[in-house]
């Protein structure tokens, strides 16, 4: 990492008295794959559009590679590529023609070899001369990735790049993102698909209603918010729960009247088990529970409850 790709201080956008982005702060190191998380309507796309100069902020300041987004676009445009929301192309032209047109729009007359390289990179070989109107959504998304890379950017914005993709397309897109990261580019990945972000991003920011709630390295955030814990299967359930709740630091919770989740260090587990057994509680299983970005997200955005029960199977490491 050699520097800072993006900073934002108090970035705000208000539409008709309704703040879409409110006092947002960002600090994105160069060379990272950065996840920008938030529920639908959280202000992710508005933030990206502001950073790209498509929307003027109502207040606040942001820089890209140290250059002000409003007053130094000539220093930003050559180093940035972006897919904003759904891919937009001239459907009456072929994929290759679209790429050439977009390169020229940015002032570059690239050699054919560069287009061949990009078409190969995104896996559109053989379809590049077909009109874009005949492309599937997945192909358009991949063409979008090729378009973002035309000017060999140092910073790539990807706004919900897997929207509408089938599972195979999602995996392909994830691999493309990882390859971009491996090439040393900074990738700003906006998404509400937490599993996808956890797979590829080293750093994340979580926003809600236009405000940054959490920001930092994924593993630091997970550790700070409780880190790994344990899931206990015991009977009778109510008795086990009452005993565990007597020890506040365990933060015993249950979503399904079956498994009890506790936070505990490994050395404390035998003592907890002993306490249960001594109280005539039968302990059937104790498994390591790895905290996921999804559970963290649901917890801090206040969307826990029933939804948070869903990832139990994913987060239990070990199992029956």
């Amino acid at each position: 990492m050699s520097g800072i790709a993006i900073t934002a201080e108090g970035l705000t956008k208000v539409y008709k008295n309704v703040p879409a982005v409110n006092n947002l702060s960002l600090y994105i190191p160069e060379g990272t794959i950065y996840g920008f998380l938030g529920p639908n309507g959280a202000g992710k796309t508005t933030t990206i559009r502001m950073l790209l100069g498509l929307i003027r902020p109502t207040a606040g300041k942001a820089t890209v590679f140290g250059h002000d987004i409003l007053h130094a676009r000539q220093n930003i445009a050559p180093y940035v590529g972006a897919i904003v929301e759904s891919p937009a192309f001239y459907t009456f032209m072929s994929g290759l023609e679209n790429l050439r047109l977009l390169a020229r729009s940015g002032g570059h007359d690239l050699p054919q070899a560069r287009f061949d390289e990009l078409i190969e990179f995104v896996g559109l070989r053989g379809r590049e001369k077909d009109k874009v109107k005949t492309y599937s959504l997945g192909m358009k998304q991949r063409l979008g990735v090729a378009a973002t890379l035309l000017n060999d950017p140092k910073l790539v914005f990807l706004d919900e790049p897997t929207n509408g993709l089938d599972p195979a397309g999602t995996v392909e897109m994830r691999n493309l993102i990882l390859r971009m990261g491996q090439e040393g580019r900074t990738v700003f990945l906006s998404s509400h698909l937490l599993f996808e972000v956890e797979q590829v991003c080293s750093n994340v920011a979580i926003i809600q209603k236009g405000v940054t709630i959490k920001q930092g390295r994924v593993r630091d955030l997970l550790a700070a918010e409780g880190g790994p814990g344990y899931a206990i299967e015991a009977a009778p359930f109510e008795k086990a729960m009452a005993i565990l709740q007597e020890i506040p630091e365990l933060k015993a919770t249950s979503f399904d009247q079956h498994w009890i989740n506790i936070n505990a260090e490994p050395q404390d587990v035998p003592q907890v088990m002993r306490k249960l057994v001594q109280a005539d509680v039968d302990v059937f299983q104790v498994v390591v529970r790895q905290r996921s970005l999804e559970s963290l997200f649901l917890e801090i955005t206040g969307n826990g409850g029933a939804a948070a029960q869903q990832p139990l199977a994913e987060v239990v490491v070990g199992g029956r």
């Binding site: 032209m93 050439r100 729009s105």
Partner: protein
């Protein structure tokens, strides 16, 4: 800017709507000639009408057909072209892939204006060539001479083309502004065409409107440009009556120039400051 020009030009000649504009214009000219041939054949080759057709389709007189078509349709074609050129970028949300690639947004609009002029120039040139070729073909069918080159005068042709260009530049500039403000191709076309008609009616009903709106000023410029002697005096007298007072050539030039440059400049300022928040 050269690469941006090439990108915009590729878009222009590939866009189906623009190909449609070309085909409609050439189709109307073709229909005109086909009609003349049909009637000649119906009336008989020795008829007086056939002789008139031979004269009309003889080069360079044959160029009158596209000039009449373009004087009637030229501004509408330019309105549709300009409105589609800008509005389609909003409709398809393609501004978001274009704008982050350049530091200055105004580059895109300046190039679009240049391309509009180039497209219309090409449309006029091809219409003239097409009509000249059709004239030769018609004369081969109805048995006349192919051309009368001595009658051809490039300066006369240029003189006839200037008013056509002036109309299309004024109304495509106003369309640029309306499309930019409304972010809609349809609004641009509707306002361009309806606005043109409303302007004409208003200018004929109100002397104040005549002075403010561009139509009568364009007529004033055309009269000064096209006619000489008594004819010029007569036409200008009628125009002055509509204005309610004599209006100088300079005043008309300023008004027309204000519409052209004012619309483009306001459009540019609007575009420069406007949020591209998507559809």
């Amino acid at each position: 800017m050269w690469n941006l020009f090439r990108a915009e030009w590729t878009k222009t000649y590939k866009r189906p709507a623009n190909i449609g504009l070309f085909l409609v214009t050439l189709g109307i000219i073709l229909l005109g000639f086909l009609g003349m041939v049909g009637i000649s054949l119906y009336e008989g080759m020795d008829s007086q009408f056939a002789e008139q057709i031979r004269q009309l389709t003889l080069f360079p007189t044959s160029l009158q057909v596209p000039l009449i078509v373009l004087s009637q349709l030229g501004s509408i074609l330019a309105i549709v072209f300009m409105s589609n050129s800008i509005g389609a970028e909003y409709t398809n949300d393609t501004w978001k892939v274009l704008l982050p690639r350049r530091a200055r947004r105004s580059d895109f609009i300046i190039i679009k204006v240049v391309i509009c002029l180039l497209f219309m120039t090409l449309l006029i040139a091809i219409s003239l060539i097409f009509a000249a070729l059709l004239g030769v073909l018609v004369n081969l069918i109805v048995g006349g001479d192919i051309s009368n080159l001595e009658q051809f005068s490039a300066s006369e042709l240029f003189k006839s083309l200037v008013p056509i260009f002036m109309q299309l530049i004024v109304f495509s500039s106003i369309t640029l502004l309306v499309t930019m403000a409304s972010r809609s191709t349809i609004m641009g076309i509707v306002f361009g065409i309806v606005g043109n008609t409303i302007f004409s009616v208003a200018a004929s009903l109100s002397k104040l409107a005549a002075k403010i709106l561009p139509n009568l000023h364009i007529s004033n410029l055309e009269a000064n440009w096209l006619y000489d002697g008594e004819q010029k005096t007569e036409v200008i007298k009628r125009i002055d009556m509509a204005f309610g007072t004599p209006i100088s050539l300079t005043t008309s030039l300023i008004v027309v120039g204000a519409y052209i440059f004012g619309s483009i400049i306001i459009g540019l300022v609007l575009f420069q400051r406007r949020d591209m928040a998507g559809q």
